[in-house]
Amino acid sequence: MSELSGLAGPRAGAGADIDYVQLLTPEGVRIGNDEYDFTGDDDQIAGLYRDMVLTRRFDLEATALQRQGELGLWAPCLGQEAAQVGSARALGPRDHVFPTYREHGVARCLGVDPVDLLRMFRGIDHGNWDVETHRFNLYTVVIGAQTLHATGYAMGLERDGLVGTGDPERDAAVLAYLGDGATSQGDVSEAFVFSASYNAPVVFFCQNNQWAISEPIERQSRIPLHKRSSGFGIPGLRVDGNDVLASYAVTQKALEHARSGNGPTFIEAYTYRMGAHTTSDDPTKYRLADEVEHWRLRDPIARVRAYLARSGGADDAFFARIDAEAEDLAADVRKRCLDLADPSLIDAFDQVYAEQTPYLTEQQAAYAAYLETFEDAEGGTR
């Protein structure tokens, strides 16, 4: 290949020569960085630890519920807790989030009831939380679509005079999540174009978990992902996504940059999907066990625990308390999941339009009458 632009060949690997912001090593040692710093104290780090442990326990319980037939499907976030919790805890009180379908850790940080996430996967509704109260939009299954919504929302914030006022009580930004596979979608390129052109206050937080179902990152990108946004005029950077402190620090800075009116940023959180893509997927068909093992040694929770134990920021009693809290959470989630009432199709007719149509009213009535024929015949509902 000719030396056109110093680009490596297509197989060079979009993750080769990892160079990223890291503030806490896999061994749990804090290291410095010229540009990014985690300024919180050990109590705050203990809080991040708690968020990650509870996220993981919830995720494992949901996976178990799916295996037992209680959920139709589950998309686990195992291994991505640091990227999610770190970025989510960096949000300011007025920032808004546009998630994919895997941001369970972010949802927890924004106070979404975990059972509301389960309702979706249990097939009870398509998302039942109040998006404005939680500042957490509905899960989006169509890959990449949310990045445009996030950009438009950010354009709205700007129009409403909520960006770059210098008043920390007013300024707000948007945090949009996406996966590595999503960067191939046209919608995502369009979101880059719009956000750059309108200087929209949005941060794109891409969890590069190395796989889009069976397709490795090399199938989506010939260059490291964080380099892609610069072609759109958007600064991009890479962070160790298994390092909660670094994820926090870079997201905080990017959000502040956006809130101040300096426009979009793209963050590639370099992490790994430890579990299956979803519970319907069998990763042994395409992924090597060695690779999983490599990442197991970079577990996002273990390194924080090692740090806290060493620094004295937390003691055995603390860790035991968090473990117990996680068990309680799992039990509570399980119980409330099994207690969820089934929805009614009759109600669905009321949810389609803000202004009901005569034809739907007619269909609803006809269907109700049809159901009654069964009640008459069998003395009970269908």
Binding site: V141, V142, Q185, Q220, L345
Partner: protein
């Protein structure tokens, strides 16, 4: 003659298409090593290589758009859309480009493409995984649209669709992928664009395609217990419609009921009802009835059994038709 599932029959049919013509290429997300999320392409990349069974980047517009370009170079692309709901990012390429290139070029260009779409509900999935988008494509001139309901058709129709010089939207009923049936690998296949009378009857005609064919066949058996003789048609081709089979049957029974999963409003049933009424007005003993999904978005999975037309709703329509 062999017994196999619809998924395996499609796999075997695609294999034969790849063998028969070196210009055939498959493209789609996860269709390589994984063999597709429904395993329809299992083993094909291993045997035909990465150049002919292409694991595409995660971009549907890209998959269809690059296939247009390959078709312009004489290839015969077969695209897999992973799920019905994810066809929509490619909608522009399909309806504005794939469908119109022949017309725009005054007939000089052909678009020998197949776009495979796993369709319909009933598998307990989350949003966007259970759609029935056939009407959008039937409404678009320049596309041909077919739907398979059994392994034998799956095996043959996929090969015929690949061989067709027109773009074919190919619907596969995902909840029937694992149902088994006989495949006649030797015999002569029925023409791609033809409906088939599955069961003869004299009182009412039930017409369905894809996943609903089995429901109608079961309903016919159940109705027999009540002394009713039901004719069942597997439509197979949604655009163009094979009206000859539909009108012949309607003239015989005097009663037609169209059954599909997609919402009724402006759905395929409406077109069939209108054309049947125009052509068979004097033979009809009752209005053409439709049993369809409701005009709501596809509901969460706990409601899908109620949402999808079932045996009871079909039999109820039979009663209503006969009551005229």
């Amino acid at each position: 003659m062999t017994t196999m599932t619809i998924a395996k029959a499609l796999n075997a049919g695609l294999r034969r298409a790849l063998e028969a013509d070196p210009k055939v290429v498959l493209a789609g997300e996860d269709i390589g090593k994984l063999g597709g999320v429904f395993r329809v392409t299992e083993g094909l990349q291993k045997d035909f290589g990465e150049a002919r069974v292409i694991d595409s980047p995660l971009a549907e517009s890209g998959i269809v758009g690059t296939s247009v370009g390959m078709a312009l170079r004489g290839y015969r692309p077969v695209c897999e859309m992973q799920f019905d709901g994810f066809t929509m990012p490619a909608f522009d390429q399909i309806v504005n480009q794939v469908a119109k290139l022949r017309f725009r070029s005054g007939g000089r260009i052909t678009m020998p493409m197949v776009i495979r779409i796993p369709c319909g509900g009933g598998i307990g999935a989350v949003e966007h995984h259970s759609e029935s988008p056939e009407a959008y494509f039937c409404h678009t001139a320049g596309l041909k649209v077919v739907a398979v309901s059994n392994p034998n058709d799956a095996y043959w129709m996929i090969q015929q669709a690949v061989a067709s010089d027109d773009p074919v939207i190919f619907f596969e009923p995902k909840r029937r992928y694992h149902e088994r049936g006989e495949v006649q690998e030797a015999g002569e296949p029925r023409p791609l664009h033809s409906a088939q009378v599955l069961r003869e009857g004299t009182d009412v005609t039930l017409l369905a395609y894809g996943p609903m064919v089995k429901v109608c066949a079961d309903a016919a058996v159940a109705a027999e217990d009540e002394g009713r003789s039901i004719e069942v048609i597997d439509l197979r081709t949604l655009s163009p419609l094979d009206m000859s089979v539909i009108t012949r049957s309607t003239e015989k029974t005097g009663r037609l009921i169209v059954v599909h999963e997609a919402p009724g409003n402006a759905g395929l049933g409406a077109e069939i009802a209108a054309r049947t009424t125009e052509q068979c007005f004097y033979s009809l003993e009752a209005p053409v009835l439709r049993v369809t999904g409701f005009d709501t978005p596809y509901p969460p999975s706990r409601l899908e059994e109620e949402y999808l037309p079932d045996l009871d709703r079909v039999l109820d329509a039979v009663d209503r038709s006969l009551a005229y």
